[in-house]
């Protein structure tokens, strides 16, 4: 692109542009900023002050220091595919976009690790090492475009986290720019810092409120020798849920165990990657096992048996890699597919004990009826991670609020059975208030106290993750008392 000139009188914009070197690395015109007013969570929209594109850690550090010194709110953004609003500039933030820091810095097969910049896209890592027989395990559905930096911020999960764990289980080291601009390195050379506090664990999933990650060392795994996938159709959701419990009880640890209900099937079959699921089915299970080739057949047979016992209508194995891939494409584009049956959707992210699946699904059905809004369910059934998708039309006055309430009620239902409010999407803006379903005031204060240490001015991604005092007088009061005491 041609070299642009800065056309503004705003001194901050001029200074930020100087830090990143040229005018094509900063956006500040209204139309450009509008493209950054939300991420994958579209219920709230706010325009940023500017978007800057640093090329290296030093530039990130300089930008952060400038913002901190000048009391400018700021936040980090990757591909902006987050589903809880973590990258929405609620306070007219300066957005530090990390998409130009997208290099794969090092692959060390011997020590099974890779070093990437935060803007590196998740799936690219697997694609670049698969020919050598390795892969990166965390596989959020958006893996073809989401960045590993964003995955660290949200502690992203994915379909295969049942067996392999979420992002935090795969992070070996981080370089972080703290909210004052200081650069720290956590666990160098892939050797975990065992002594001292587990800062790596703290930073992972901190939703961009404690620092900005600028370099990530991740664990890579040997690709399984063999994998097989089974599709099972059930006429009753209860039977499908029971089958999920039975599979786990049988001692099988599938690599993935996914479920979609009737409304979700309607969406994926109306969208871009249909595979011919029957429309009249109550639930479809997608079950994948992987590992040493010798054990696969036995596990598959066990799974087929369990499904038959639970009155499965039809159950079959993928006949080839192409069919397996088509089933996964169909599943992994499930959220976006909602666009084909509804103008807007809001996806929730509750976690429940597996045994409570039928009970919670019934409650969600009730919530749908009470609110008059359709709710589709796509979930990682194996680890009890539900994704109720509330379908609505933002153009109808009041319907967005209704959807927010219905989503919140779904999370309440999860919390009521001993579950929690997020498994992998993060709290962001969306679930701030719902934090109170699972934490009491003291527990929330214990957490905000930690943020205070890292982010004392609260300029970095403020207003996310915790309930806002504006809407929660009680907490505000308690917190005031707590500070007076300290």
């Amino acid at each position: 692109m041609a070299v642009k000139k800065i056309k503004t009188k705003d001194k901050h914009i001029k200074n930020l542009a100087t830090i990143v070197g040229d005018a094509s690395s900063i956006l500040y015109q209204k139309v450009d900023l509008l493209a950054y007013e939300c991420d994958g969570f579209t219920v709230y929209k706010h325009s940023p002050k500017a978007v800057v594109f640093p090329k290296n850690t030093n530039e990130v550090s300089a930008l952060v220091k400038y913002c901190s010194d000048n009391q400018l709110p700021f936040l980090a953004r990757g591909a902006g595919t987050g589903l809880s609003g973590g990258a929405i500039p609620l306070n007219n933030e300066v957005i530090i976009s990390l998409v130009k820091m997208k290099k794969l810095l090092n692959v060390d097969l011997e020590n099974r690790l890779a070093v990437v910049q935060p803007g590196y896209v998740n799936l690219k890592l697997t694609n670049s090492i698969s020919d050598k027989g390795y892969y990166y395990a965390p596989d959020p559905s958006s893996q073809s475009c989401c960045t590993i930096g964003g995955n660290v911020a949200e502690n992203a999960g994915g379909a295969h986290c049942l067996k392999y764990g979420v992002t935090t289980n795969h992070i070996l080291g981080l370089e972080v720019v703290l909210p004052n601009g200081d650069i720290i390195e956590l666990s160098e050379n892939g050797i975990l810092d065992v002594p001292g506090y587990d800062l790596l664990g703290l930073l992972t999933g901190s939703e961009g409120t404690l620092g900005i990650v600028t370099k990530i060392t991740v664990r890579i795994l040997k690709s399984p020798e063999s994998k097989q996938t089974v599709l099972a159709y059930f006429d009753r959701v209860d039977d499908g849920s029971q089958a999920v419990s039975d599979i786990i009880s049988a001692g099988i640890v599938p690599a993935a165990l996914e479920m979609m209900d009737k409304t979700a099937i309607e969406a994926v079959e109306s969208a871009a990657f249909p595979v011919g699921h029957p429309r009249d089915i109550a639930a479809v299970l997608l079950i994948e096992v992987d590992g040493i080739a010798a054990g696969i057949d036995e596990q598959i047979n066990q799974i087929l048996e369990v499904c038959k016992k639970r009155n499965v209508r039809e159950v079959r194995e993928a006949k080839d890699e192409q069919e397996r891939a088509s089933w996964w494409a169909n599943r992994k584009t499930g959220f976006g597919a909602m666009g084909a049956i509804s103008p807007d959707y809001l996806v929730q992210d509750g976690v429940i004990p597996r045994s409570k699946l039928p009970e919670v699904l019934k409650r969600i059905e009730q919530i749908s009826q009470e609110s008059g809004l359709r709710i589709a369910n796509i979930f990682h059934a194996g680890d009890g991670n539900l994704h109720p998708l509330v379908l609505f039309d933002a153009r109808i006055p009041g319907e967005t609020d209704k959807a927010i309430l219905a989503g919140s009620a779904c999370l309440q239902a999860c919390a009521d059975v001993g579950g929690t409010i997020t498994g992998e999407h993060g709290v962001g803006i969306e679930k701030r208030e719902e934090m109170r379903f699972v934490f009491n005031d003291e527990e929330i204060i214990a957490q905000t106290n930690i943020r205070e240490v890292f982010n004392p001015k609260n300029l970095l991604n403020a207003g996310k993750l915790f309930p806002t005092p504006g809407r929660c007088g009680e907490i505000k009061q308690v917190m005031k008392e707590a500070t007076t005491v300290s």
């Binding site: 692109m1 956006l27 139309v31 709230y44 871009a272 976006g336 666009g339 905000t448 917190m479």
Partner: protein, 457 residues
């Protein structure tokens, strides 16, 4: 601690929408198209301009968001809005990636229509657009004259003189690059067959088809049109070339000139009204013909139904041959070939395997996989002329994916052929750029013992 839990003022949930659209002309961007977009971001990595800039206003979902924002009254139709909308290659890769099948290309074209009405092109850009889009492409006789001139330019020695004298360098760099790869111009098939109602099938007639010869194709690549006719007649098709057919209008619609697009669409729909099958060998044209109905959504709706019917008859040559069957050539062409998916064939028409199957049917052809074969080459109609810098960057990453050890790059679109030929020359490569059907025709010719093609040496 004063800032500890700064009261942030919760933003209102966006339940209200301004009814005041800033699209002031009819035929405005279709709300139904953006209603399907959930802003999930699955399109991002498919987009060449996002890949290069990393900026979301240059991404599919960003553009959809901006187009929607104008309808919601949050943005004006002005030069700031124009930039991202016109920087789109219209390559449709996002449509393939999108889980909800959002027609981003359609929205972009509709938005360009609004922009061009709000801010008509002025100065030299306006003049160039007028000369080429309105003054040249829609007029068969002028295209013929251009062809004659280019032939004269090549044959008379003028080309040599101009190249030698460096006079050529007064043109912008990308035009110099284009001149350098200009194929040898042959007489157009429209002229050649102007007195023949039907070119009869060799042997028994199985089907009757009508052939859209295209404008750029027939001037620059009339040999490919010849090949197309040879291949069709050899496989039992009577071929007619309706003489009142015209330019498909794709370049006009891409540029936001939807009025001319409609004019050309109507002329073609009429010209081919007697045809059962309309065969196209240029992906960009085929895609446009299939989408004519979009032009008549609001304007002249009485044509909408006719356009829909027409679109069902249109088929790319490779798909048609593949589906109706074709004779496997017996001669051998020992070449290593890679295939480039033209955007408007792969993303626009969903034709991916058919051309590959045709190539594989030629004895001796060894297919070599190209990484990201369905990534745009940067030609994108006249994008390489209007946005040379971005087009150049897109071409560079395309060329990085062309395998080193192949002798030919095959494809199904003339724009791509010109662009890829520029790439081959610019990056010091030595591949021959061919049309899929051309290669099939050469195999037939070799089988028939026709001399004169150095290709199978």
């Amino acid at each position: 601690m004063s800032l500890r839990e700064k009261d942030l003022g919760k933003g209102p949930a966006c339940t209200t929408m301004k009814s005041l659209s800033n699209y002031l002309w009819s035929d405005h961007p279709d709300e139904k198209k953006w209603a399907d977009c959930t802003h999930c971001g699955m399109c991002l990595e498919s987009c060449p301009t996002y890949e290069l800039t990393g900026q979301e206003q240059h991404s599919p979902r960003g553009r959809v968001h901006l187009i929607k924002s104008v309808a919601e009254g949050k943005l004006e139709v002005n030069s700031h809005f124009m930039e991202p909308v016109f920087a789109c290659l219209d390559c449709r890769a996002c449509t393939t990636a999108c889980p909800a099948n959002v027609d981003v290309g359609g929205l972009i074209e509709e938005a360009r229509g609004q922009i061009r009405q709000a801010m008509p092109l002025k100065g030299w850009k306006g003049a160039v657009s007028k000369v080429f889009l309105q003054g040249l492409f829609p007029h068969q006789n002028r295209l013929n004259s251009l062809g004659s001139f280019l032939r004269f330019y090549q044959k008379s020695g003028m080309q040599k003189v101009i190249r030698k004298s460096k006079l050529i360098n007064i043109m912008p760099q990308h035009l110099v690059e284009m001149e350098a790869i200009m194929p040898e111009i042959q007489p157009s098939v429209r002229q050649k067959y102007k007195n023949e109602n039907v070119i009869k099938a060799k042997g028994k007639t199985k089907n009757e088809v009508a052939f859209l010869t295209g404008c750029v194709m027939d001037v620059m690549f009339s040999d490919i049109n010849d090949s197309t006719i040879n291949v069709l007649t050899r496989n039992g098709n009577d071929v007619s070339i309706p003489q009142n057919q015209t330019c498909c209008g794709a370049l006009h619609v891409h540029a936001g000139d939807r009025d001319t697009g409609r004019k050309l669409a109507k002329q073609n729909i009429e010209a081919f009204s007697g045809a059962e099958k309309v065969i196209v060998n240029a992906a960009g044209c085929g895609c446009m013909l299939k989408e004519y109905a979009e032009l008549f959504r609001e304007e002249e709706p009485e044509w909408h139904e006719k356009a829909l019917l027409f679109s069902t008859k249109v088929e790319d040559i490779s798909k048609y041959l593949h589906d109706t069957g074709f004779e496997k050539p017996k001669a051998t062409i020992n070449k290593r070939v890679t295939y480039h998916d033209a955007c408007h064939l792969a993303h626009g028409q969903g034709v991916r395997n058919e051309p590959r199957d045709i190539l594989l049917a030629i004895p001796g052809v060894e297919m070599v996989h190209m990484q990201n074969s369905d990534r745009c080459c940067g030609s994108a109609g006249i994008y390489n002329i209007t946005n040379p810098e971005m087009a150049g960057a897109v071409l560079e990453s395309k060329m990085e994916n062309v395998p080193e050890d192949v002798e030919m790059i095959s494809m199904g679109n003339p724009g791509c052929m010109l662009q890829m030929a520029i790439g081959v020359k610019k990056y010091g490569r030595n591949q021959k750029v061919v049309h899929t059907i051309q290669l099939l025709d050469w195999a037939y010719q070799k089988e028939d013992g026709i001399e004169g093609k150095d290709i199978w040496q």
